[in-house]
Symmetry: C2
Subunit: 493 residues, 2 copies
């Protein structure tokens, strides 16, 4: 049979496509959804068999999804062997987890490897994630999984005793402190090679936001170079193959709207450790829409992170922060980049809440890393207000590859208050959803400019927020959604 | 955007395919794996968005998987609306089940409806199945789910106070009693409209086996006609849309190698009830590879079936049978059809174990339905040995549409004993796998002819079994597998 690249992107799941008549007539002993092995030139790839009809996959050929095609490393038209494959070894381990049994470090090694190699279909990956969520993982299991995740990918190593990092457990729109904290930290002399993610469920990740201003897809060699020269960087972690199993787990958690705590802890620890960090400041916002909706849960999460971090040789300081409403004005890549630049440039209309929080985090990071004993906030404030942080940011930006921000979306809708009163609540989830429907982060100029925060008073017909989109269609989706749900999005009384 | 039929069969999962550049450039505010709504002419379908590259889905068009395309009911090239969709209502219910909460009858109604309508992706379906398996379902939940399953599909109704049925929980290769029991029952005057399934994980289902000899894809009207004339039929249930959620649940259970007991009970009860049955004989084999590997589990399953059946108005009699080894000689559609015909024709070389078991089940069914008080076995034996059962079978065969059996596969391999001794064990799973690798049930002439059973003695170089395949490739798969694993497949000591 000949190999065909059909250009179907099924992400990390390896799928083989075969014409359904072909499957019957060839008498291969294979059935749809079977796990098969496709081999050529001494290499082979495991895939789940899907059948198609029509002309997508011509007779005599077998199609592979993009990643499986790349993994096999053979050209279009190569003669390949196709046969049944036994389930991966980790299927037994998966069944043990579904039965609630505790897994060993080596069990997690097999599972993680099979996930990364695309040998788990979405069904198996979901079964793993759901049973892990239901039964939870013991501390030993988290350590085992974390180490397996680290080993399943690449690792960065920096020539410094202290490698600083920060992370936020997320859920608060506009909370773009990272570029500010990293710039202050690097300006203070800390080695802080920030690798960030793109958005999964939010209107923007730090990498999406930074990409508006600079190249973020850096090779490890480029990262080492930037960090050697400026002691910090602002790169996209996804280009680096750090603990890659995590990205695939998120792909099944996202549509289910779940976030298995054990997997979340494990994936954060693995990413940080694989990125070479030694000291990690962990921002744990609590409030509606965050990962710790109550203060009790936030405290427990903090303790667990600190304890497990120390078992892995990571010095983690968790900070419980107020995550009850969006932070800053911008929600969406370009809008958030504008907030960051305003703060770094000490613009008078820079959002004060985001500036304050960034200084607080930067100060704590300086203390955690021993740069100062208890003067963290004051030092951070000085570095920011004297323009040293901005200078550092701009140097990193030039080294990584400066970009000028694209414009905001040209399709605009103002949303005004319908009455006079005081804002008592702003729903993180709803505001984020509106920004997403407007096109963020896929369309970087799309999003929400939030003009008011909780405790501010508004007049009727005063601006609550402005919607930016890059098409009328997207603007209409976002506007329609707000018209349906907006009454619980911003509460005025 | 124009609709395109691209011929990709993703089973009941509704997938929409869009070119990845198109997705970015159109600024639709949509992302890969988002749930979207595709609408045309006042109808709409929910689908999960996958991105493709290349020429599969031309610019300006959106592709739909086969079932989604059919459901939208629009022609190729129709202008369609595409937009984001909110998660189905049952997502909240799914999350409740993942959190271990008990669901109500109406909850199951929503979930079942969304499953049947293809609104659950494989990820969500797997999450439902796995959490149901882990937490189990209470009796009330099983009743709720069963009723929801029945209502989600069509139902058969027969004009008879007693409608007999039989079912086997499975796992024993070659155990093809149904055609024999149904022929005896119908010949005894019972209304026994047998609807059977095709194989999911086995080398043959009753429907696959009967299809070798007759048409089994009958409309309800044809079934009513055949049953009115002969009081029995041997149809494929899958053509009838009875409790269809079941088929989709099996599609995720199969690759995981799991069988959630609650879902299994619910699906069997729903299929029987939807098929119009009132009295059900339930064959529960126990042994390695069956659903009740121990006698205790089999007994518990029997009690649960009988109890839940009575709550649903079904009179169920569970029978615990020996499922420790394959039954009959043939494993695979043509081979099993040959066993059935030999027994019905009272051939001297008919497999005695399968004949005995069929008579036992038929006798119990005659007693359960009140046809006789305690003469069941004797009556069944008389009907079989006088040829009345065969006559009944042949009349049903003619009415449904007689077919002549295709030949056995022409690619043959004999597997001989390597030593003298007594057979102490035959592994159901391994023998089934060999038959599947040889091509059963997809290639009806493929499979295993098992020449020996447990407790028989064999000489070295005496035939253990003969493999039939329809291609050299399939024969090689099966042979290679046996060479690797056969030492634990048949134990001789």
């Amino acid at each position: 049979m000949r190999l065909k690249r059909i250009g179907i992107d099924t992400r990390r799941e390896s799928i083989a496509f075969l014409d359904d008549d072909e499957l019957t007539s060839r008498a291969l002993g294979l059935h749809p959804m079977d796990r098969i092995m496709v081999s050529a030139n001494g290499r082979s790839v495991l895939a789940v068999l899907n059948t198609v009809e029509g002309t997508v996959v011509p007779k005599g050929t077998i199609g592979l999804s993009n990643m499986a095609f790349a993994k096999l490393g053979a050209r279009d038209g190569t003669i390949v062997d196709v046969g049944p494959a036994e389930p991966p070894a980790s299927m037994e381990i998966l069944r043990a987890k579904m039965a609630g049994r505790e897994l060993s470090a080596s069990d997690f090694g097999y599972v993680t490897n099979d996930i990364v190699q695309g040998r788990f279909s979405k069904i198996e990956l979901t079964a793993f994630v759901v049973s892990t969520m239901i039964f939870g993982l013991s501390d030993n299991e988290i350590i085992g999984l974390t180490n397996a995740m680290i080993e399943s990918g690449d690792q960065l190593k920096f020539d410094s005793k202290i490698v600083a990092d920060k992370h936020c457990t997320g859920g608060v729109p506009g909370n773009r402190t990272t570029p500010i904290v990293a710039s202050i930290g690097a300006a203070a002399g800390l080695v802080i090679p920030k690798t960030s993610s793109r958005s999964v469920t939010s209107p923007a990740g730090t990498a999406d936001t930074m990409e508006v201003l600079m190249d973020v897809e850096l090779s490890p060699a480029r990262i080492y170079d930037v960090v050697r020269r400026e002691s910090g960087c602002l790169a996209w972690g996804g280009a680096l193959n750090l603990a890659p199993a995590d990205d695939m787990i998120i792909q099944v958690e996202h549509p289910l709207g779940i976030d298995a705590e054990s997997l979340m802890i494990s994936s954060i620890l693995a990413k940080k450790k694989a990125a070479g960090s030694t000291h990690v400041l962990l921002d744990i916002p609590s409030g509606l829409g965050t990962k710790a909706e109550t203060a009790e849960k936030a405290e427990r999460l903090k303790q667990r992170f600190q304890h497990l971090g120390s078992r892995l040789g990571l010095n983690i300081r968790g900070l419980l922060t107020n995550g009850s409403q969006p932070i800053g004005n911008g929600i969406g890549p370009v809008l958030e980049a504008q907030d960051v630049i305003k703060i770094l440039r000490n613009d008078p209309d820079a959002p004060r809440d985001l500036r304050e929080k960034s200084l607080y985090l930067a100060g704590e990071l300086l203390e955690l890393t021993g740069t100062t004993r208890d003067e963290g906030y004051a030092i951070a404030e000085r570095i920011l207000s004297t323009g040293q942080a901005f200078e550092k940011f701009e140097r990193i930006r030039s080294l990584q590859g400066r970009r000028e921000s694209p414009p905001l979306g040209g399709h605009i809708q103002d949303v005004m208050s319908e009455k006079y009163g005081r804002i008592t609540a702003i729903n993180n989830r709803l505001i984020a959803r509106v920004a997403q429907l407007a096109g963020a982060p896929h369309n970087p100029g799309a999003g929400v400019y939030l003009a008011k925060h909780v405790n501010e008073t508004v007049d009727s017909r005063q601006l609550l927020f402005r919607l930016y989109a890059e098409s009328d269609e997207a603007l209409a989706f976002a506007t329609r959604y707000w018209e349906e749900k907006g009454d619980v999005g911003i509460t005025i009384s």
